[in-house]
């Protein structure tokens, strides 16, 4: 098993932290190998930013994402830039208020930013998205991601982040009929 996961959005949406949490979940709190890479340099500034994870049940040789199996996008620019690089049949997850996918693309959508705003902090949209990802992608155990969140954010905001995670996770189940 080797899965390539790309999380993308614009700077400030916490894409890097989301990748770090997910990478920890796989490699420290589940029995999988995970490598995280990020684009450095001019290509990483402004516009679309991305965090890339390769996950496998064996040691990972080549650490970069070549054709993503799962693409999570929180901005239109990220979707436009990275959708063509992902597998045609990739699982594509979007913030449905921020991304208008192309008509022939089947995506799973969640209003992650709006749900985060409802929790009082727009900044946790990334973790809402992680909850939705965990519930829909079927690649990582819920407990593993929760432990990774606990060990990655300041103790004063653990509760908020757990609430955000749960919101995204539950949203997937509420809308299961539509998926």
């Amino acid at each position: 098993m080797r899965k390539e996961i790309r999380l993308a959005g614009f700077g400030g949406q916490g894409i890097g932290l989301a990748g770090l949490i997910l990478g920890k979940a796989f490699s420290l709190y589940d029995d999988l190998e995970a490598v995280m890479t990020q684009a450095y340099g001019p290509e990483a500034r402004g516009g679309a930013s991305s965090t890339n994870l390769v996950v496998a049940d064996r040691p990972i040789d080549y650490p970069f994402v070549q054709e993503a199996d799962i693409l999570v996008t929180l901005s239109q620019e990220a979707y436009t830039r990275f959708r063509p690089e992902a597998k045609p049949d990739a699982l594509v997850i979007i913030d449905e208020d921020l991304v208008q996918p192309s008509s022939q693309d089947t995506c799973l959508g969640i209003p992650a930013t709006k749900l985060a705003e409802d929790l009082g902090r727009r900044i946790v949209a990334n973790v809402v998205m992680l909850g939705f990802f965990t519930a829909t992608a079927g690649v990582i155990k819920r407990e593993a991601v929760e432990k990774a969140i606990e060990s990655s954010v300041r103790s004063s905001v653990v509760e908020l982040n757990m609430k955000a995670f749960n919101t995204g996770f539950e949203y997937a189940h509420q809308t299961e009929g539509d998926l």
């Binding site: 490699s27 420290l28 990020q38 450095y40 990972i60 650490p63 970069f64």
Partner: protein
């Protein structure tokens, strides 16, 4: 107050962070450096962590000063380190030679980026590996290692300090941007499982007759007295006698330089590390190091699925070159392939030690070599007929 401060357990570390934690675990308590991409995260993490463990972090005016600072700290007894990339590495060359001549242990990390000159600051390269061997002037020997994972950024940083202290030599950690910036699981072992090779220290009973550069033991390493301990020591970059005083004499010079080289070559087996796989039936062997070795291992696995009898040998240490390991396999295989992110540097060394065809898979740097390029080379060599299937 010093504290061991080792963060025992499983972590999801960037390679540069793992290097900094390896330094702390090794007991390094002095860093003098000048930040440069892609090594900056090493300095950043040590700047944050050293106050917790009683270490000293100094951002120096440049890389020449950085090297000078760590040599001073080393002479005073500290495990000392700096970290840089190509442009800074060039500036450090002069004082790396001074470290060789004064036999002061230190660790220099070079997270290689695309070169020459300022090249590609944020992108990987492996084109400083011959500079590591021959960059400072003169005949000399030192040790250099090439990590291929964040875990090895930790482990080899520890090993680098051990080799430096044990053999009184500068040790270079020749990482690359891919390994420095990628994030992966790193297991930090309990402190009693972290190997520690001590500096050889003088016998206090012989303080009055102590000669700081007299190597009486078969390992050719003289004991190191630290500044302030009351020994009479004299450090100079000039050729010196056993007392450490300058001596402009051909025979003394020849004896000194020969010992500096032989203390590494004679102890090479304890310093050198390699890793190999699938060698039992191998007719072709792929050689690689650092991040390129990850692609090479993938290519070797793919080729074996196609039935090609190919093996994989990774240079964990670059210098001293693992001559013995190569001599052992050189006559058993038909051909070598060397994959590296430069235009053919370690391949020159492989050619020197094997009497078999050596095929290079080279790229000047800027991106990690894709496994497919190495796989194509394996297929070509296999089809060319250097290889005879048994």
């Amino acid at each position: 107050m010093t504290s061991t401060g080792v963060l025992v357990g499983k972590h999801f570390y960037q390679g540069d962070e793992a290097c900094a934690e390896g330094a702390i675990a090794a007991g390094c308590r002095f860093f003098g450096g000048y930040p440069i991409t892609p090594s900056t995260e090493i300095a950043e993490r040590l700047a944050r962590r050293f106050p917790e463990v009683g270490g000293v972090f100094i951002q120096m005016e440049d890389e020449m000063g950085s090297m000078a600072a760590i040599l001073g700290a080393s002479a005073a007894g500290a495990r000392a380190m700096t970290a840089t990339s190509g442009p800074g590495f060039s500036l450090m060359m002069e004082n790396i030679g001074l470290a060789v001549m004064m036999e002061l242990p230190c660790v220099v990390v070079n997270v290689q980026r695309g070169s020459p000159s300022t090249g590609l600051p944020t992108l990987p390269g492996q084109s400083d590996v011959m500079q590591a061997r021959w960059g400072t002037h003169g005949d000399f020997a030192l040790a250099a290692f090439s990590p291929w994972s964040p875990q090895e950024m930790f482990d080899l940083t520890v090993h680098a300090f051990n080799v430096a202290d044990r053999y009184r030599v500068p040790v270079l950690l020749m990482a690359d941007e891919v390994v420095g910036h990628m994030v992966e699981r790193v297991v930090v072992p309990p402190e009693d499982q972290i190997p520690k090779w001590e500096r050889k220290r003088p016998d206090p009973k012989r303080k009055d007759s102590f000669k700081p550069f007299l190597a009486e033991d078969p390992d050719l390493v003289p004991p190191l007295a630290h500044a302030g301990e009351g020994y009479r020591v004299h450090f100079t970059g000039l050729t010196h006698d056993e007392q450490g005083y300058p001596e402009m004499d051909a025979e003394i010079h020849h004896r000194l330089v020969t010992r500096l080289v032989e203390k590494i070559s004679h102890n090479a087996e304890k310093i050198v590390r390699t890793e190999d796989h699938f060698m039992e039936d191998a007719r072709i062997v792929v050689i690689a190091y650092g991040s390129t070795a990850r692609s090479a291992r993938r290519a070797v696995k793919d080729a074996r699925r196609e039935g090609v009898p190919v093996g994989f040998l990774r240079l964990v240490s670059l210098w001293p070159f693992p001559i013995k390991q190569f001599r052992e396999i050189a006559d058993q295989v038909d051909a070598f392939i060397v994959a590296e992110m430069n235009l053919g540097q370690m391949a020159l060394e492989v050619e020197r030690h094997v009497r078999r065809p050596v095929t290079g898979v080279y790229h000047a740097g800027g991106a990690m070599m894709p496994p497919d390029r190495i796989l194509e080379a394996i297929r070509e060599v296999a089809n060319r007929g250097d290889t005879h299937r048994r």
